[in-house]
């Protein structure tokens, strides 16, 4: 067996700074009477998705109130500040 050849190479990958993990907000135990926000970024199909979802949601939780808004792929700060106070929980869909 011919003597071994050692090939040492450097790592081409960029360092990604460690980030402090944030925990999601605590869950609601019950949706009765709650305000459910529905967010989508206008990509076709999600409006239909939410129409059906709203219907099923109201069957299950008659007292729930929904609040549908449409915005950019990443919700802008302005929209978030305006929308957050009006909802207790949310469903965020982008369809892709």
């Amino acid at each position: 067996m011919s003597e071994k050849v050692k090939l040492e190479v450097l790592n081409p990958r960029g360092v990604v700074e460690a980030k402090q993990a944030n925990a999601p907000a605590p869950r609601l135990t019950d949706l009765a009477g709650k305000r459910v926000g529905l967010y989508h970024n206008g990509k076709p199909g999600l409006d239909n998705f939410f129409t059906v979802f709203e219907e099923l949601l109201k069957n299950k939780y008659p007292t729930v109130k929904t609040n549908l808004i449409r915005g950019s792929f990443e919700i802008t700060d302005k929209d978030a500040e305006a929308w957050a106070p009006q909802i207790d929980t949310f469903v965020y869909g982008v369809g892709d």
């Binding site: 081409p12 993990a21 999601p24 999600l46 949310f90 469903v91």
Partner: protein, 487 residues
């Protein structure tokens, strides 16, 4: 902001979503997955999408109501993208067996681009760094989507892999400076489903010193400088920004020119005009790199020239004007749209056009009295549309565009004046949105690319950077601060 939520995504994008939640420092975000193959077909109508929603309804409700697990709530841990040690060692019975092993490992780890690369050994990286005065640890910015830190050393490692030579490094660095600039939208070109691509154009004397090709076949194979500079940018972005086709780079068809983007040089010898950057805030004798996002799979709009037909400068100019009117005329109504991203008008409406003129055509245009500036003004005027031809939606689009700042302040007066009977309304926000590059041989072809003037996720998608810190060429040795100029 204290609101418990759930993120709905299609299975094709499940990895993408998982990776994005880590990028945004909330790995525990609750996600609900729907099947891509069903969603894209059924979404067209409430009736057809019903079964899909019913299928995933309980999952969404659980995501909102079941309490967080310990793991999800744990904020003590850090999200660390573990990409292995700084050095990788491979042993094999022969050098080439080791190369084969390295190639296979790197492509499986998604660290390469599918073609063979030069092993970035410490010695090779030192050899590459000899091409710049800049320190290896200098951070020039971050690359999306994972905001990886772009240092001169990481760029040099990827430049070695690409097969570049040290004298090319300053050009590669300048291109990466444009892409990682805080205002450049690198996210859209690197990850969007539309398979967007880049043009990387080198202007000024450094191109000749690196013997870049700008004659016959300038966009094609066979030119080490053109091909490896483009490839270095490809490898550096995918390795520093950490994206992979189908995982979080969602280019559906895959890009045309995927390994080298469109990387070429202006034909300084044959061009009768000053370099591109001379009219854009740089001195004629400078060497620069202009990086711009361009449209996806079918990018090139051909204005002919070549040898099959006879051509006249007027004829090609007509083709160009008609093409710009045809593509941009229908966008007026979108000028007032809030846009796809954070900034008004982002990712819609008016466009930038990148037009490649062959040297003979530029010579004819010069004989007709044109230089770059006057050609910009000429085409800008000839592509304006009569006010009376605008639909109400067009007029409303421009009006709102002015109000929400899509039309910048310095252009307001021009459009307000044009929006009257007898007025001529430009389809281009400004003549500066026409970018002319002179490249090709004799005979040559004229063609163009175009892209949104306002990209979806940041302020600009075209930028020219000065080449600095060169050690092996006369051009590009300017020290000191760069003068970025984004149109």
């Amino acid at each position: 902001m204290g609101k418990p939520g759930v993120f709905i995504t299609c299975d094709t994008f499940a990895d993408d979503a998982e990776s994005a939640s880590r990028d945004n420092a909330m790995p525990g975000v609750r996600r609900s997955i729907i099947k891509s193959s069903e969603f894209y077909k059924l979404r067209g109508d409430v009736k057809t999408i019903r079964p899909l929603v019913e299928g995933v309804f309980d999952n969404i409700i659980d995501a909102i109501t079941t309490p967080l697990t310990l793991d999800e709530a744990d904020t003590a841990r850090e999200i660390k993208d573990d990409d292995g040690p700084d050095e990788i060692t491979i042993t094999a019975e022969s050098f080439l067996a080791a190369i084969e092993e390295l190639n296979q490992q790197f492509v499986e780890k998604r660290w390469s681009d599918g073609l063979p690369f030069i092993p970035p050994t410490p010695e090779r990286v030192k050899w590459m760094l000899s091409g710049t005065t800049r320190s290896p640890h200098e951070v020039i910015g971050r690359v999306n989507p994972k905001q990886g830190i772009a240092t001169i050393e990481k760029i040099a490692i990827n430049a070695v892999m690409a097969g570049a030579r040290p004298e090319y490094l300053p050009v590669i660095i300048a291109a990466m400076e444009a892409l990682t600039d805080e205002y450049f939208d690198d996210l859209h070109i690197l990850v969007s489903a539309g398979s967007f691509s880049l043009i990387i154009v080198v202007s000024g004397p450094i191109a000749k010193e690196l013997n870049m090709n700008s004659g016959i076949g300038f966009l094609g194979h066979g030119w080490r400088a053109n091909n490896t500079i483009g490839r270095a940018v490809r490898l550096a972005t995918l390795n520093i920004g950490k994206m992979w086709p189908g995982a979080n780079d969602m280019g559906l068809t895959g890009r045309v020119n995927p390994h080298t983007f469109y990387t070429f040089a202006e034909n300084a010898d044959l061009s009768p005009w000053q370099p591109y950057h001379a009219g854009r805030g740089f001195k004629a004798k400078d060497s620069t790199v202009t990086v711009a996002t361009i449209g996806g799979a079918s990018p090139m709009q051909n204005f002919y020239g070549g040898m099959i037909g006879t051509w006249t400068a007027e004829g090609i100019l007509d083709n160009m004007v008609n093409d710009i009117i045809r593509t941009d005329r229908g966008l007026f109504m979108l000028w007032g749209v809030k846009g796809v991203g954070q900034y008004p008008g982002s990712g819609v409406g008016a466009r930038n056009h990148f037009i490649i003129l062959f040297p003979e055509l530029a010579a004819e245009l010069k004989n007709m009295g044109y230089d770059q500036k006057s050609l910009q003004d000429g085409v800008y005027k000839r592509t304006a549309v009569r006010y009376e031809e605008l639909s109400p939606a067009d007029r409303r689009g421009i009006q709102t565009g002015i109000e929400i700042g899509v039309v910048p302040a310095e252009r307001k007066a021009v459009f307000e004046a044009a929006l009257k009977p007898g007025g001529m309304v430009p389809v281009l926000i400004s003549p500066e949105n026409l970018h002319f590059f002179v490249a090709g041989g004799a005979p040559g072809c004229a063609f163009s690319f175009s892209y949104f003037r306002l990209p979806p996720y940041n302020r600009i998608a075209v930028m020219t950077r000065l080449v600095t810190g060169a050690t092996l060429t006369r051009a590009g040795v300017i020290e000191g601060k760069n003068v970025p100029y984004g149109a």
